[in-house]
């Protein structure tokens, strides 16, 4: 393997050091790369079809039912008429914000239309709950099946324990890692940094399981088959609200994730998640000797 790494040391180098000082290692196994990209595709469609589904009733509640005769609303989007014309609003915990043009009221074929999320953010672009559900459930299956395969595979090949579960040293190194990230100073090592472990682990072990469970809770047949699922999650409408919040977290993760890829060197980062090969910092770095076994 070392020979292979030696051979792979090439002129491809974005840093200031000569390429020969920065070893190219095999960092991401095929399994990780395939599941990463399946998720990327699935989440793209899940997000946009999910916003379509949300638009059918762009209000979120806490509890088992939706308050029409009482108030348990946490978020609502819509439009109302004013002397100056219709205004789109987003109401969060009773506080209203003018979001005309984006949320609550936006253009559909050049006509101002009352809708939660704008047409550029939904599949299909026009209001069509039935198609949104068809798209959503197809990619939900893709996400769940891939997640289960990834989880089992990750337990077997050691990826989950070795790379994702934070260890004691990660917690000790966390403050320094936070400071480094804040200064856009990145370490290129075989292992994930403490913040990476927390972010990836948080998405894979908290956000994804929660978004899948709350999604299942919205199925009345599942609620009957798995009693207490809705109760544990605070009721069907709370589950729907959690589902939405997990979506926001995933969007936030995606934005930061892409930003970090760009900041840390997009060529090297993308190469590792496409081909598996990753150029790490020279072994003399204080951040620990890169592991070269594959």
């Amino acid at each position: 393997m070392i020979d292979k790494i030696e051979q792979r040391r090439s002129a491809l180098d974005e840093g200031g050091l000569p390429a020969s000082a920065k070893p190219l290692i095999y960092r991401q196994v095929l399994w990780t790369r395939i599941t990463h990209w399946i998720w990327a595709v699935a989440m793209f469609f899940l997000l946009l079809s999910g916003l379509q589904i949300f638009n059918a009733h762009p209000t979120l509640y806490i509890g088992n039912q939706s308050g029409f005769g009482f108030s348990n609303e946490v978020l609502a989007m819509g439009s109302h008429d004013t002397p100056a014309g219709p205004v789109g609003y987003t109401r969060i915990f009773g506080k209203s914000f003018n979001t005309t043009g984006v949320l609550g009221l936006s253009a559909v074929d050049d006509t101002s239309t009352e809708r939660g999320f704008p047409s550029w953010a939904t599949i299909p672009s026009y209001q069509d709950l039935g198609t949104g559900r068809v798209v959503h459930f197809f990619f939900a299956w893709m996400l769940v099946i891939t997640f289960v395969c990834w989880f089992v595979g990750g337990l077997i090949n050691g990826h989950i324990w070795r790379d994702l579960i934070p260890k004691g040293s990660d917690l000790r190194n966390l403050p320094r890692d936070v400071a480094d990230h804040a200064k856009f100073r990145f370490h290129h090592a075989r292992d994930y940094s403490p913040l990476q472990k927390l972010a990836y682990g948080g998405v894979l072990f908290v956000v994804l399981p929660l978004i899948i469970l709350t999604g299942l809770t919205m199925s009345p047949a599942i609620d009957a088959a798995v009693p207490h699922l809705a109760d544990i999650l605070g009721g069907r409408q709370t589950a729907r609200t959690i589902h939405f919040c997990m979506m926001l977290l995933l969007v936030g993760f995606f934005v930061v994730h892409v930003l970090m890829v760009v900041a840390a060197g997009p060529f090297n980062e993308l190469r590792s998640i496409i081909t598996g090969w990753y150029r790490i910092d020279p072994p003399t770095q204080p951040q620990g000797t890169p592991r070269q076994e594959v």
């Binding site: 599949i123 459930f137 200064k183 100073r185 009345p220 934005v255 760009v262």
Partner: protein
């Protein structure tokens, strides 16, 4: 340990990754998912998978959660037709549905014609359940009615019968005069909580909620619970009914199995 420098290449790569998704969406290239298109059929196969997995893995008699009277905090929110404009219906409503009859036919040994009084004299069941609308909202109400299985037992379905089709008295599509209809399989039809409801929250079923009789299918979404019932038919296939998808909303793009 290289310091972060935003090179032109880095910036362009990142911008391309970030914007490609939005571009894809905003170009409306993903709108070609009309009914019976090839892609649509592939995507819809996932719903069939869900139906089969739920029917295989889940307890077919599992009960939907029942709530207490204290959970009834508001009137049942009506949806779809709320005040049918059909002459036949208005005439029946004018004398409190005294002349109304529920016809039960199709693949049965004993076709039935039941008045409201006859239905009310049959064994009844009352349940406080959560109504889940496909749009996303939920509402808790108390429903009283005769279990559909009791009516089916009297009609004696033939072995070939596989689905129960509900025909309604309300015109749901004013443009082409289509009346609402829907269908469920015999598993949900014989489920103990599947009732033909004539009472709601301790009172006769209001017109906006489907008087004189509506179905409650507690493990499916609201559009699977037709209101203003006129006729029940047992069939082996619903391919020849309506546009062949098993219900009014199904003909308009919703999945037939509404347990999702």
């Amino acid at each position: 340990m290289s310091k972060f420098k935003l090179s032109r290449r880095s910036f362009l790569t990142g911008a391309a990754i970030g914007s490609s998704g939005l571009l894809l969406a905003s170009c409306n290239v993903l709108d070609g998912l009309d009914r019976d298109s090839g892609v649509r059929n592939v995507l819809e196969s996932a719903n069939n998978l869900t139906y089969r997995i739920q029917r295989t893995l889940a307890d077919r008699n599992a009960l939907a959660e029942e709530f207490s009277e204290q959970d009834i905090r508001q009137p049942q929110r009506p949806n779809g037709s709320t005040d049918p404009d059909d002459e036949d219906y208005k005439q029946l409503a004018s004398d409190n549905f005294a002349k109304w009859k529920l016809e039960v036919g199709g693949l049965v040994e004993t076709p039935l014609s039941l008045s409201l009084a006859q239905l009310q004299a049959m064994p009844s069941r009352t349940q406080v359940t959560r109504h889940d609308c496909v749009e996303g909202w939920s509402c808790i109400a108390k429903w009283t009615g005769v279990p559909l299985s009791v009516v089916l037992d009297e009609a004696k379905p033939k072995p070939a019968a596989r689905y129960v089709v509900f025909y309604c008295m309300d015109t749901i599509d004013q443009d082409d005069g289509t009346k609402y209809y829907g269908s469920i399989d015999l598993i949900d039809a014989r489920h103990p909580q599947t009732i033909l409801a004539y009472g709601m929250n301790g009172k006769p079923l209001p017109i906006e909620n489907g008087a004189p009789l509506r179905v409650r299918v507690e493990r499916q979404l609201g559009y699977k619970m037709p209101k203003y019932l006129g006729k029940i038919e047992l069939v082996d296939t619903f391919a020849q009914i309506g546009m062949g998808h098993g219900g009014y909303w199904e003909d308009n793009g919703y999945e037939w199995y509404g347990g999702i």
